[in-house]
Symmetry: C2
Subunit: 211 residues, 2 copies
């Protein structure tokens, strides 16, 4: 059985450790490609074009919207964020499983447009742990942390729409778990329509054929 790649959408509470997980997943297995988003916000210190984001002007971004060059996009705090289509499609055709790290609203848009996408939601083992992780960064004010927890409360309402829940309690174990979920997901009937149609046609031919 040959497969085209799977479009994987990964969401999770801020502080759930998505970034570290994805980095480790890409280092460990060679079947994944990480989609890089396009944004109109300015690069922060240490960020490079094409690595964290493709940095773009408002004009270029809006042209991409018009020409259908983005799989999805959203506007936050006066900046655009979106997923360029070309790279994703190219990698899927090469058989790579393409990961979009995207928040919950974008994830649901993707699922709507690509029902065969695989939606994973990453959560820490507990809210106490989530608070601890957000606090231990030491870079965020109490207010920002509070805001993220409020946002998490909103996001939690949408988790049921995800295909799988991944509890990030141990990095190595969790990376392996994600890989096993992706591997198992290749066996969904709707990801094997070619094989299934072939089997159905052969059986159909037999049942109409010689006695």
């Amino acid at each position: 059985m040959r497969h085209k790649g799977i479009l994987i959408v990964v969401s999770g509470f801020s502080g759930a450790g998505k970034g570290t997980l994805m980095k480790k997943l890409l280092e460990t297995y060679d079947n994944y490609a990480l989609s890089v988003s396009m944004t109109t916000r300015s690069p922060r210190e240490g960020e490079s074009d094409g690595v964290e984001y493709f940095f773009s002007t408002k004009e270029v971004f809006e042209k991409e919207i018009e020409s259908g060059g983005l799989i999805e996009y959203a506007r936050y705090c006066d900046h655009y964020y979106g997923t360029p289509k070309a790279y994703v499609e190219e990698q899927l055709l090469l058989g790579k499983d393409v990961i979009l790290e995207i928040e919950i609203q974008g994830a649901l848009k993707i699922k709507n447009r690509f029902p065969e996408a695989l939606l994973l939601f990453v959560t820490p083992p507990s809210i106490a742990e989530l608070e601890r992780r957000l606090t231990s960064r030491g870079t965020e004010t109490k207010e920002v942390i509070k805001k993220r927890l409020l946002r998490a409360a909103e996001e939690a309402q949408g988790i049921d729409a995800y295909d799988f829940l991944v509890i990030n309690d141990d990095l190595e174990r969790c990376v392996q778990e994600i890989h096993e979920i992706v591997t198992a997901s290749r066996n969904a009937p709707f990801r094997n329509t070619e094989f299934m149609n072939h089997i159905k046609e052969e059986l159909e031919a037999l049942s109409k054929g010689e006695n």
Copy 2:
């Protein structure tokens, strides 16, 4: 995360090798329990009560139907076949993943009644291989083989309702694949409602709590 067991329904074309697969799966991993069906047909040579089937009279079987003691049942060629409920529930509560080996109509009934059941469909890698396996048994007439292939053609139409497709080309690999599918399936949000509700409540409390 603790889980109650998963109710696993396994179907597949006659000749797909389900029996051998299930035997090997149960030998290899200790989290499975195989449900034994009840039937009113007579035991064949080598079959023992409680192993291949629970053999029962028509009267006893019909009493079980009336008292709700069967998860599902069907009538073929003047004989009843059904799944006793007590054993399945007992094993699920013990945390065992309980396997029902059942044909497609029964499987769809189960899915209807227990939406959280996991439905697996086993198929050989090709129809040529299916024919070869049916023929090589040497115990079936051409007519019987033809009948099974016709039945397979009918069954193939229902595969889309299954959660996963398993292609039985290599016994060891296939047993491992089934185990990985079951393991991954534990991560579906609807199989983790207790954990999810706990997270939601905690976040809810935080967002209503102190500033």
